[in-house]
């Protein structure tokens, strides 16, 4: 973000604080699964020192989907003592959160006590990938589309009309309200596609990749919050009971720069298979099957890679970093006719993260070394769980 944009954003916030439209700033960061974490800070305090770092227990960057800490994550565990990590706000990301009365939000860089970027934090991982591409003269724009489902309960979806209004929903409905609030917040929503089965797709315009990831994760959270405000649930679980299509994060990339080689298609598929555990990081996400085949098109000024898919449960920032790295690794690779074997289970997919050296090389060993035990924990927990399906099926029959 340029200094001018940052200055403009701060000036906006000062005016909003003065006229009372903003009283609170979410000083915040995306966690490893795209959850929105931070502290709510009174706007006057934030404005008094917008660069002030705020401390958080560092364990929260390596928790599982239920916020549980495990001891196998090398970055943080009882042996490390769970010290503070620090968020340095990036004022260039400051925006109103128009779906939350009186609030604004700012994202930032997670740092150590001494100010070093935390290599385990998704935003830092993506920025490292982008910086590496930029060194080769490659710039990246991305458009992300989120899909989910509006539901009343785990087994009851809200039937949606075109435009996103649900049957029986008051006013404009959750989806349109969320989309309009996002637009008012400066998040460039491009499309809203809603289906009778309760599924929806929310597309964002193409943006510089770092910003695209930031705003995708914000958009996802905003939709969830607006749904909660109206007593409903916007669910991004990949597969839910009765669902037709899996909920996915669709990523379209434009790699521009004179030296942007197109990825070799089979190499790209292979690389995507290597990072599948980051794109489909849950038991349920795996039920959707492999991410599918992206499209590759060389245009006059860029290489366009379309239809890259991750689960909607994936963190948009991590997913974008992973597919970008995959595209970079596959660029200029020799053509191969060998079939691309895809992992059959989340455990196998986790193995692939470690087996492919390029993954740690591009995404950082910190990310992988901490993702791996959490993925294992997920599969072990599932293996130990007695599911509703098992109870229904075996309880009386056995």
């Amino acid at each position: 973000m340029t200094i001018e944009i940052a200055h403009e954003r701060l000036e906006w916030l000062r005016r909003a604080a003065a006229d009372g439209t903003v009283h609170t700033v979410r000083v915040s960061w995306p966690d490893r699964l795209g959850g929105w974490r931070g502290k709510r800070v009174p706007v006057d305090d934030f404005l008094a020192d917008p660069d002030r770092r705020i401390g958080f227990c560092d364990g929260m960057i390596v928790v599982d989907v239920g916020c549980a800490i495990i001891q196998e994550t090398p970055f943080s565990n009882f042996e490390t003592g769970y010290p503070d990590m620090y968020l340095r706000p990036d004022v260039g990301t400051l925006r109103p959160a128009c779906w939350a009365d009186g609030e604004a939000f700012v994202l930032g860089e997670l740092q150590s006590h001494h100010g070093e970027r935390l290599a385990v934090a998704p935003r830092n991982v993506l920025r490292a990938v982008l910086a590496r591409l930029a060194q080769s003269g490659v710039g990246v724009r991305a458009s992300l589309t989120l899909s989910g489902r509006l539901m009343r309960s785990p087994r009851e979806s809200v039937a949606l009309l075109p435009g996103g209004l649900g049957r029986g929903e008051p006013g404009k409905g959750v989806l349109r309200a969320a989309a309009e609030a996002l637009l008012a917040s400066g998040v460039p929503v491009a499309s809203l596609d809603a289906r009778r089965d309760g599924s929806f797709r929310l597309g964002l315009e193409a943006l510089e990749a770092g910003e695209a990831a930031d705003l995708a994760f914000v958009a996802k959270a905003a939709v969830k919050e607006v749904a909660l405000q109206q007593g409903l649930n916007a669910v991004f679980m990949t597969v839910v009971p009765g669902a037709g299509r899996p909920a996915q994060l669709e990523i379209d990339l434009e790699l521009d720069g004179p030296a942007s080689p197109a990825p070799e298609p089979s190499a790209l598929l292979r690389a995507i298979a290597d990072v599948r555990a980051l794109l489909q990081p849950s038991i349920t996400a795996f039920k959707a099957g492999p991410p599918g085949e992206p499209t590759i098109e060389r245009r006059a000024s860029c290489v366009a890679i379309g239809s890259l898919r991750a689960s909607s449960e994936a963190d948009p920032t991590t997913a974008l970093a992973a597919v970008l790295a995959a595209a970079a690794v596959a660029a200029g690779a020799p053509t191969s006719t060998a079939p691309v074997a895809s992992a059959r289970t989340l455990d196998e997919a986790a193995d692939r993260l470690v087996e492919a050296p390029w993954v740690a090389d591009w995404l950082g060993s910190a990310l992988i070394d901490n993702a791996l035990p959490l993925l294992r924990h997920e599969t072990r927990s599932f293996a130990a769980a007695v599911t509703d399906w098992e109870i229904e099926r075996y309880w009386m029959q056995s």
Binding site: H23, K39, G66, C67, P83, K224
Partner: protein
Amino acid sequence: MSAEWIDVVWTDLVGRAHVMRATRRAAERGALHVDAADVRAGFGSVQSPAGGEGRLRLEPDWSTLRGLPWDADVSVVLADLLDEGAPSPLCARSFLRASAASAGEVGCEVAAAVELEFYLVDPATGRPVYPWIDNYSVSRIECEPVLAAIRNELRAMAIAIEASNPEYSGGQFEVNIAHGPALAAADQGVLLRLFTGILARRAGLDATFLAKPWTDQSGSGAHVHQSLWRDDRNIFHGGEDELSAEGRGYLAGLLESMTELALLGSPTPNGYHRRADGSFAPTVVAWATDNRTAAVRAVLGSPGATRIEHRDGGADCNLYLTIGAQILAGLDGMRREIEPPPPIVGNAYEQDLPALPRTFLESYERLRDSELAARLLPRLLLDAYLEALAPEVEVLMTSSADWERERYGEVPLR
């Protein structure tokens, strides 16, 4: 004549805030009194002789006067308890004032900040408002109207709320108050507890600062951050990531006293359920640099940020007593120039270190028999505190609890 009310807030020995609503005239004229028995009462019913124990005068500290944002006709002020014109030995607020002032003997002022954790409770179920752990989640918006009211209304009352966030348990929250003079820090903590309850009620919820409300949920602590300042310089800062000799002495004093003064931070049997390995509440006497498994955490960095965090107290403690005693223990260590043991590295829960009291009875006896406490704390205050908590020993020893019935009963019992 229009009513202008003052809510005069005073705390009893076990740390509960009481509010006497009075006219400004009565408050200014010194016409407000409370029974000493009410101050001493502890958690049980008030027992006093037929003639009473005498009365204590409420002396408003007018420097703490502030308006109530939601009621234009009411202001609030904190008060000390006076006995015949002098601070009562039962007045914990006066004790903290005196403790903080004693830092002046070494040319210092104490800066402190209290982090308080609490739960918002659904009155219909008596359980947390939601069950999911979602630490630091900004999308956990179910309770945000209450939290926003706490932040915004209390800031409007000049309580220096810095931030809030969901904590590491469903329905649990933490509110951070900016550091300031020790007495003001405790005052703001007292008001935060008082008004969190009121604002929760207004939203149809309850709030609890009980140290360990439920077996299956995290405990709620009162972490006290403290530093000493001399001529606008933080004397704990000993250089980049270093604690000064004075800071080490202060820290050593905190460690030395921690076991014997534990009852001040955990005044109920319930508070000891909070102590468990892996709970992030301390179980052993240890200190470390930025390590949440240790009872005392040295947070080192810039001169402005360097401080010592005492993590033992529960969120339901008497903040005046707890902070005042910590200050005296810290200053004592500093004056004697004692050195702390080496900081631990790693998991305090798995190291062979002196244990903090794990039961109320043990903690009570340690305070009662403590020479250090007798040396540091005013005798009358200490005796009154022990007397106020003595019935809890009897309650603990003679009560049958639900869990005992469930675990040991041969048949279902109520």
